[in-house]
Symmetry: C2
Subunit: 457 residues, 2 copies
């Protein structure tokens, strides 16, 4: 058989709010995810992968910039990523690889910064800055919310809403009324925003719901794209609203729910900040068994639907030959407490919220020895960008010089981190150090006691 070379493309799949332990390859006892498991069996599964923040926006901005939150500054949802921050797209395009979005980023454009620097949002530069460096094939951040005066964002900007209308779903906000709500016998909308409706079937044909829609959009992107490309297929689900179309809404019941990880002692002795979160409305809700019993089966159904879509996608990639020249990375932006530690949502640095599933499939023959292996090294979501840059050919030698040559200044956090190496045994970090004659470099294994990243990463 002809050896397969380094992949040309990268399919970078991210789920939203997918817990690492809600996949069967990570040990969930009842939720079977054979398709994601199959990807793991052909790639490397990381058991200690962590995001930089357990909140969508900051976590993603770290992934997309390769930098820690304290460095890029987008520290909470809705805080803009500052104009001028270098992104995955800036780095990859400079290396000759396109960087395209299909789905969610949670990017808030730095409109004030763009005005300050005189950047026109309608220019190519302005559009990329506003979309955190991606060229947009489809943007879908989900959550088309309605306030007392109507939709909070213009639903006309939302292609998926158009699609739903074209498919005959009625109402001002078919995203809400159909994709994310049930319906009762009298035709009343049972909103998925209310957790009491989690056991309903979403009032939509399953293939029209958001996860299959985005899968098809990714296929449409790949069909028309010329290599090399990175496609960020960024699903909204299994993020709340916790509601899923048939047949997924009845696949799981209370017998499939893992017990909550919590003790009375941790509640009684909680740090005031954690205690405030435990006693907030969402914390109190998820501390009640009936809420967990309503929500978790729907959450599991959403994940099962995601796994089925990954199955369709992998099959299609096999048929079209793209499995031979495309690296596939599958991960999440954070987890979900689901009542663990007396909390709901994410926000804090418990494993249930900050630890993520991470699977990397590299089709090249060099990676054959790693197939189906498990890697217990500590890796972080900011390690992905240098990994992608290696695939794009921007990093030929992991030396300080090559980082500088590829315009990664020593201040760039990603420049200090190990790339995730799946195809070889190398686990080296390279970091710049000052020397009297300019920049030198030191190389150290992570385990070295003198490794400057050892204590701080």
């Amino acid at each position: 058989m002809k050896p397969k070379p380094k992949p040309k493309n990268i399919l970078f799949v991210m789920f939203d709010q997918l817990r690492w332990d809600y996949l069967s390859c990570y040990g969930h006892p009842h939720l079977k995810t054979p398709n994601i498991d199959r990807l793991a069996s052909r790639g490397v599964r990381f058991t200690r992968a962590y995001v930089q923040s357990p909140i969508c926006g900051p976590s993603r901005m770290s992934t997309y910039t390769g930098r820690y939150v304290h460095s890029h500054g987008a520290s909470w949802n809705g805080i803009p990523l500052k104009v001028g921050e270098m992104t995955m797209g800036d780095h990859l395009r400079a290396a000759g690889m396109g960087c395209w979005l299909v789905g969610k980023t949670h990017m808030r454009a730095d409109a004030e910064g763009m005005r300050r620097l005189g950047l026109d949002p309608d220019s190519i530069i302005g559009a990329r800055v506003a979309e955190c460096g991606f060229d947009v094939f489809e943007r879908d951040d989900g959550m088309v919310a309605i306030g007392p005066d109507g939709p909070l964002e213009n639903p006309d900007d939302h292609r998926y809403s158009h699609y739903l209308r074209e498919r005959g779903y009625a109402g001002d906000n078919p995203w809400h009324d159909h994709a994310n709500s049930g319906v009762d016998a009298a035709g009343n909308v049972l909103s998925g925003w209310f957790m009491k409706n989690a056991a309903e079937a979403a009032n939509i044909e399953e293939p029209d719901s958001e996860t299959p829609y985005l899968t098809r959009r990714a296929m449409e992107f790949i069909e028309q794209a010329s290599a090399p490309w990175l496609c960020h297929l960024s699903y909204i689900k299994p993020h709340w609203p916790y509601i899923v179309p048939a047949p997924y809404h009845t696949m799981y019941d209370t017998s499939h729910i893992k017990p909550a990880v919590r003790t009375n002692e941790e509640f009684d002795n909680a740090h005031p900040v954690l205690k405030a979160f435990m006693t907030s409305p969402v914390g109190k809700a998820f501390s009640r068994d009936e809420v967990r019993e309503a929500v978790i089966p729907a959450y599991m159904g959403l994940i099962k639907q995601c796994d089925d879509q990954i199955g369709l996608l992998l099959e299609w990639l096999d048929q079209t030959g793209r499995m031979d020249d495309t690296m596939i990375v599958l991960t999440s932006d954070h987890g979900d407490f689901l009542g663990d530690h007396w909390m709901g949502e994410k926000t804090f640095f418990h494993d249930t919220s900050v630890k993520i599933p991470l699977i990397i499939f590299d089709p090249s023959s060099d990676a054959d020895a790693t197939r189906g292996t498990v890697c217990d090294e500590l890796v972080e979501s900011i390690d992905l960008l240098p990994t992608f840059l290696e695939i794009a050919g921007a990093i030929r030698k992991p030396s300080a010089t090559s980082w500088k040559a590829s315009r990664w200044c020593p201040s760039c956090m990603a420049g200090r981190k190990a790339r995730i190496v799946t195809a070889s045994s190398a686990n080296m970090i390279t970091l710049p150090l000052p020397s009297p004659s300019g920049w030198g470099s030191a190389r150290a294994r992570r385990s070295s006691s003198w490794s400057p990243t050892g204590g701080t990463s």
Copy 2:
């Protein structure tokens, strides 16, 4: 007497490489600095003021952005401050206060970032971005260095060099040959780059040397400026080359040198990074007594000249009425090992390099009770920007809301810090915290055990 209102202007004086303990108000036993001491007697002197980095560039970029080095990313001299970073100038101008430079910034423009965003360096926006937010009255970074092929930077860009030529100083680089070198009887240049020449008099009339020149330029700025303004009078000295014109070159001798702070044990057991610095050429040089005995008297002479110039400046400000409406802040960008801990230069986080003198004079009647007082609170150079913003009127109430109203997003490090308060006893920090309904705020004294900045600042 009519009460004096809040000051209209800010004179922000920075010295380069001035050790905190080389002023008589900070206890130097031999070096008398009566003019700086006089400012301290009319203001507040801070005994625990620290820079964010003991290197010119990163330290200044923190001061000018109000953010930590890991956040703004300009982590070493020559590393550009990224395009898009908000600066003192951006914040102050938005509050209606001009922000002008007279002297040094050590800013390296992010030329690549400007190209990427299509910013024209010759536009007003581009020029401010390239000058880290300042409007330039005079830029003088000193160090007009010559390599084997001539000057390393175009000396025509350097107004002070022009001035020297107009004053009749000859040569391609009068900055080097006259302001920073001696001369022997045969007319040979004795370069101040060589520490063996430190005891020479610089071959220049004292009023033509760099410190008096910049003092006069500040007066020229102030004379033509209309309030409100911040003037960053940023002296090059007492930074090396260690050479000073007469009469300052003979004012101090070995009897005035404080003993080096160092032990054999700290050399023998040094961390490898420190040991490398100790055994670098500059470390080895400053470990020798004859080097200290040559350099330190010249360094003290440079500081004495600085103090005399501050005397002239304060007198002039009194005469012109500017002492009544101008806050004066006097500080340094870092210190100088001068052989302490077996090292020269700065670079590491010892008090001799990272601790700075800081004196704040507030002319308003509200500050009368604080005159001549000493403040032992821990303050940092990033605290200056919010302090200046308060003077500019951008911060009326120190609440999270007002920070947001003044466009300080919660991710902005400075927004999390206490302002330096000289005119009242308040020492509160305000920081944003998430709440289910959006941003709330928590207020805490620094000393509170729950203060989130307590452990990390």
